[in-house]
Symmetry: C2
Subunit: 303 residues, 2 copies
């Protein structure tokens, strides 16, 4: 799949992406998801992509060529918001060019980008740009975006991160988020591209591509698992006897009764259960769509 995470903080921005692409278990590849744009002393942008690689590469090419879209490109816009609009226009141009052929081939127009950076005179900004070319912007309340395989890496971001988190701590957080994802989804893989952008620097200062020999990555990868297991072991096990009050598990729920235990119906009523399952809220719509199964059935989209 892909996993990219972008953070927009008081002191600057952090961008982290993997490099594994997946077009089937026999077509695993290595492609960078991160692209950097710099005009010395004036502006600095980072773009990270997930989705259909042909589409995201086409969008990048338009931007790298400096094509004017509605009269603007990344080098001429006066603020990062307008830069995001330019990228949206590039997506729309690729859509116009390719969507019919993609539809005939049964392929979704799928393009999900994280874009951020700073134009001189403005604050650092971060955007999540969608397949339709529209976008949302990060705010202090929601100071990060993820694209690709986002679920495994989200909990640590929610627990630890805030707008005022220092950049170095936030970098550690992003790497742990990535490590959890690498452990749980084999279509996300090393090496990683990491950029830590310091507010007002207008350049790529702390930039590294990390593989499995990177000392810091190795340390996180090993230590995080050890510390999780240690944290797990340090929590008491449940006490069914009620001997230990704080770990007593047998206290029943206040509003819901115990689970019924069903026994074999008597032979005289072989086709009818003697215990009825309690039904509630009969006015609920019966045929209501629930979320799809997550396990190994057919027709699963590549994750």
């Amino acid at each position: 799949m892909t996993y990219c995470v972008g953070l927009c903080l008081k002191d600057g921005l952090v961008f982290l992406s993997d490099t594994r692409t997946n077009a089937g278990v026999d077509q695993i590849g290595t492609f960078r998801k991160m692209t950097l744009f710099q005009k010395d002393g004036d502006r600095f942008f980072t773009l990270m992509s997930a989705g259909n690689l042909a589409i995201t590469q086409a969008v990048k090419e338009i931007l790298l060529q400096g094509q004017l879209l509605n009269g603007k490109n990344l080098w001429t816009v006066s603020n990062a918001h307008d830069a995001a609009v330019v990228i949206g226009d590039a997506i729309k141009q690729v859509y116009e060019r390719d969507h019919e052929a993609l539809e005939k081939a049964g392929i979704d127009f799928n393009c999900n980008l994280i874009f951020g950076g700073q134009v001189k005179g403005e604050r650092p900004r971060l955007f999540n740009i969608y397949s339709a070319g529209n976008f949302i912007e990060a705010t202090p309340e929601t100071c990060y975006f993820q694209i690709g395989e986002s679920k495994y890496g989200k909990p640590i971001l929610d627990r630890v991160l805030s707008f005022t988190t220092p950049l170095n701590l936030a970098t550690k957080c992003a790497l742990i988020s990535m490590d959890s994802t690498l452990n749980s989804n084999i279509s996300v893989g090393l090496p990683l591209d990491l950029l830590v952008y310091e507010k007002n620097s207008l350049k790529a200062d702390k930039l590294v591509t990390m593989d499995d020999s990177n000392p810091y990555y190795k340390m996180i990868h090993q230590l995080w698992g050890e510390k999780l297991r240690a944290a797990f072991n340090s929590i008491s096990e449940p006490s069914w006897s009620g001997a230990h009050k704080s770990s007593a598990i047998s206290a029943p729920a206040k509003k819901m009764g115990p689970i019924p235990i069903h026994h074999q119906p008597p032979k005289a009523k072989a086709t009818k259960s003697t215990k009825k399952v309690a039904t509630k809220r009969p006015t609920k719509r019966a045929n209501t769509k629930r979320s799809p199964s997550t396990t190994k059935v057919v027709n699963k989209k590549k994750a």
Copy 2:
């Protein structure tokens, strides 16, 4: 959504399910996902369900009525595998009855079950039964199944659980797995139904419905977050200067070069980039489907 997890271990089985149903943000409900079947001294089964509630309730009704499917029901089969076949037959019966009308209503036939238990004379067994009525069985190598919102709760199971994990420790693990899921997906909610089945007991021994006043649940909920943050804080931050060897982050990847930094193309070549993005593996299919975006675009299935 739903989250249910079943464990099949050397000493017995653990079953844990939530009770929140979701038919839209204005139709949140409370329905049990767990059903228990017991014939004293002879057999004990647990069924947990995810998917379309009307479908899963219909399947349960057939089983509770003791209907004979291909001449068998849960009370007459001689082993747990044949019991899983009976449940598969019940699913197929509901499918035959309802799938046409569901298709016309644009609703998927979505039914995902965890089923386990023990028939006297056999070992405890655990199955994951699919919408098609077929199923897989847990083995010592893969000793757990999850249905519903499985991603958030999976990492702790992978890190901690094995076939020889004692039941009480495994129970703690399942509850932490559930807690992580509750934190990250609001369509999974309390109260929880928990059953710990001891091998050869042939009955529901340790059974509890846990709400937010349950001492053990409260303790786990508070402590786990604290311990994760403590574990996070105890890991060193990255060292960009290389001063600390073990946390040195600047070591570049061996096989992959540094990320290129793109600058504004010269005016004479305004539409063409002077720096080409390195492309690799030109024989790769260009129009390759990638995984769908995971963020807030349109037409997202309810999770």
